[in-house]
Symmetry: C2
Subunit: 542 residues, 2 copies
């Protein structure tokens, strides 16, 4: 079946000027200066959706930056409560409009209304906004630190306008104008310029409408939240490196992320990128013997849930060769073959999955099941499992760590503990790494040997649990060494830590008492935890 | 007087093989594989010093990396106490050898023995080592964070081998093998590859000898501390971007720093660079009236101390045009003219200062005093003051923020508050920014208007105090927006915060209790502060 995109685009061009959606700049929805447009599709039908969205030219992006810089100056000393009030009202408005927002996301992403969008992602998103609000109001996130003897005081303060690029796979929870980076940037006291993902512009627009109204209702300056849908790669690079930009959050493809990272790094603008992760799962022999069947069920559920389109999808399973390992692989292949192939997020996701699998095959992996079209009327690809020997993995470790983002995973079967260790040492940085070990202790010695090898390659180390499902916990790390992210010291999920990415360290040396920010004055303005002379306390000084 | 460097190098070449100093690799002092050598000079006499130091080729650098990677794996789970013991013993050995170390630094840098080296920098350095030791032993630096309900626990763990490039201006306190970055990297549990600054190799060697012996005495693995003196720029870039490198600390020239930063950033390796800062001082009209004479004294002392070779040297003074401002400038010029020109750190520093001043002149500044050779027998340059109008500053703000590192400063005289504000808005990122205001309140309104403008451009905001003198305080920020550093969220001075640069965020999700690092187990292994369910406590769980 031919793709419908091209004819639709042609047909609609005549109406372009009338039906083009507005951008949100300077506190107003207004016609874009752009002349190019794009449309999203319904991945479940490949139907091109009617709305036309603008590609913003540089002049428009620059205007958003100028507005954001003025707003940043205006709100620099606002108490956290102001940002909290906005975030909470925004969460309420999202809930009030949940039905329309969910229907739109379902249409644009094919993610199911239940349980995913309605029961999972939307409540998670409003929960994140409310947790960020609570953190903003309380203030402990800023790590206020006071040396009473030297009268030196410091804390994280707002870093300036934050640009957020949201990914395709979480239309709410990582959305540029509603997700974790947005919530963290706002809670840290910064205006946001959101760049919506091109696969779900209508959903983003509906969220932005709620954000805009919440901003008006709670007295935020016009332009506190702004939205553009798309720019050229070149303008994206100018945006993240602009002198008015404070920092950038980016979740998406490795290729685009690296272009933006280079532009921001060149001028020392912090950019937090989340690029690629295969999330190795290592199943030790005792666990395979003890509960291989249960684990294969967990694995298939984790890898196929959401059609595998999670940053923490288990994309590589490392096993030590044995009969149980073969049985595990056979059982997994059977499950993958039997399960229906879910719909992917769009044609980009479909193309990316196929090319990821092709790269793995090119690097030496064999297809066990899947890797074929199953239903050309929608965006999808057969559930796919591949395998490669440990020896072959070690011949092309980079190629065999290509991320095949979606319902696919690679088994790596090592012949010995030595080979298994060598494989772990070749791992790139990942968001997560899991070990399954038996409950009777037969795997303990091997765990103790291998876990320290894996530890430096992963942000989050799990035991007896698949990596999908990223709790919004203060102790969460949704981060990891490159290429999982660009800096292994930060997390994109988990409050208050995720806020710290959008703060600059601001020190006050001998500054007169009445000129200090409230959080650094002798009297604690609320119940923030502060490190006073190296003791954490919620109390006052003196 | 002709420079002596060239003839000396030629004469000594014949003896090169015999007198070449060793590198410290893999726990042994050994002959370098390098064939090229360099020598340092005595900046007070321009005499070339006899020792020959090797330029390490890539094979040697790579070997150091391989050793460091093995060491990092070996020490990954060591308790902080092990690192503390090493750091404390190292501090003792430095003190035991202080006389020789100080004499060497004096010879290589011309910094005076008293008060600078003996009374100031050496005790500061051993103090830093001991503070870092205490932080390593206690563990709070790692921000242990526990969510008991979800059983998710995280902390900062060692990031892997740290490369430290020390600058020329602090032969002890920022030395690659003894200074703040070294102490922080070790306290965070990492091996260090130090790259000595080429202007004081003998001092660095003496410190490395003490570090090496302390490492042996305290049972650290061979190669825990390693030292090379020099590499090509190309090999430096390979080093910081190498897969075995965890992170890099660099303090030095902007040009070299940017080369290294680009190489590290391209592969997502954290690199903390400190590059350039003019440290604006803004003296408000009331303060000028009230105590202009006192402030001019403070300014001259701060700017000429250590021949102005401090990262926080006040290199730009911003004034509002008035009779008092003219008197201030005249008085400062007189003081600068009358004070003896100190000796600079070397021929590189001399050249750099002269070219910095030339760039300011080229950009439109006028020389008020100085800017001439005063004594060709030593490395020095006349104490120099320049001035430029606010209007001219705004014509070339980048050029007029060229760092003239040394005994030089630029007055910028604004005609109006509006112009003054516009100038502040053009400031690049700086380590520090100071305001002087009167004590009676006449400057308060202007302060309240201008301080928020300056705040986002500086890491440390001071009142009524010059920026030199960086206290090793837990609340210190020796950092700031680019180009002061590469990321405004981190500080290079101040413990425990400086340690966090060399940690990666390590999360444990559902990990079995006995497999957790001691700091994340239910029972607090010592008295570390931990955030348990968002409450900071030194207690246990349950």
């Amino acid at each position: 079946m031919p793709r419908l995109a091209t004819p639709f685009l042609q047909t609609l061009c005549a109406f372009e000027q009338d039906s083009m959606q507005s951008v949100l700049i300077g506190g107003k929805w207004r016609k874009s200066l752009g002349e190019k447009t794009f449309q999203s599709i319904n991945p479940a039908t490949r139907e091109v959706l009617p709305d036309l969205y603008p590609v913003s030219p540089w002049a428009e992006v620059e205007e958003a930056l100028q507005v954001a810089a003025s707003v940043a100056a205006e709100i620099r000393n606002w108490p956290g409560d102001r940002f909290a009030t906005f975030l909470e009202r925004y969460a309420e408005l999202i809930e009030a409009r949940a039905e329309d927002i969910i229907a739109s996301a379902n249409e644009e992403t094919a993610l199911p209304v239940e349980p995913r969008l309605k029961g999972g992602e939307l409540p998670r998103t409003t929960n994140q906004l409310r947790q960020a609000a609570a953190a903003a109001r309380e203030g402990s996130w800023a790590l206020p630190t006071i040396d009473t003897q030297a009268n030196i005081r410091s804390m994280l303060g707002p870093i300036g306008p934050v640009v957020v690029f949201g990914p395709n796979n979480f239309p709410f929870a990582f959305n540029g104008i509603a997700g974790g980076d947005f919530a963290a940037a706002v809670a840290a006291g910064n205006p946001v310029i959101a760049k919506g993902h091109t696969s779900h512009p209508r959903t983003t627009r509906l969220l932005a409408e709620a954000a805009h109204e919440a901003a008006i209702e709670t007295g935020m300056p016009p332009g506190f939240v702004q939205l553009i849908y798309r720019t050229s790669h070149e303008d994206g690079a100018r945006l993240v490196g602009h002198r008015f930009t404070g920092a950038t959050g980016y979740t998406g493809s490795r290729q685009t992320g690296l272009v933006l990272k280079q532009a921001a790094d060149a001028v020392g603008k912090p950019i937090y990128v989340e690029l690629s992760s295969v999330n190795p799962v290592i199943i030790l022999p005792g666990a395979l013997k003890e509960r291989g069947d249960a684990i294969v069920g967990e694995f298939a559920a984790s890898c196929l849930m959401g059609t595998g389109q999670f940053c923490t999808n288990p994309g590589l399973v490392l096993l030590l060769a044995s009969g149980e390992a073969e049985a595990f692989i056979a059982s997994a292949s059977e499950k993958f073959g039997a399960a229906p192939a879910g719909t992917l997020l769009g044609e980009g996701a479909e193309k990316s999955l196929r090319s990821g699998i092709a790269a793995l095959v090119e690097a030496g992996a064999t297809v066990l099941t899947g890797n074929q079209p199953v239903d050309e009327s929608r965006c999808c690809h057969a559930n796919t499992l591949l395998r490669v020997s440990g020896a072959d993995f070690l011949k092309d470790p980079a190629g065999l760590q290509t991320e095949a983002f979606g319902n696919a995973s690679l088994f790596v079967v090592a012949e010995s503990v030595e080979e298994l260790t060598a494989i772990i040492r070749e791992f790139e940085g990942n968001l997560t790494g899991c070990f399954y070990s038996d409950t009777q202790g037969s795997d303990d010695a091997l765990y103790d040997q291998l876990a320290p090898e894996l530890r430096p390659h992963v942000g989050r180390l799990l035991n007896d649990k698949m990596p999908t499902g990223v709790a919004v916990s203060p102790a969460m790390n949704h981060g990891g060494p490159f290429p999982a992210t660009g800096h292994p010291g930060f997390t994109a999920v988990g409050i208050p830590a995720s806020l710290r990415r959008f703060g600059m360290l601001q020190c006050y040396d001998n500054v007169r008492p009445q000129r200090l920010p409230a959080l650094l004055q002798d009297q604690n303005p609320g119940n923030a935890w502060r490190s006073i002379d190296c003791q954490w306390t919620q109390g006052d000084i003196g």
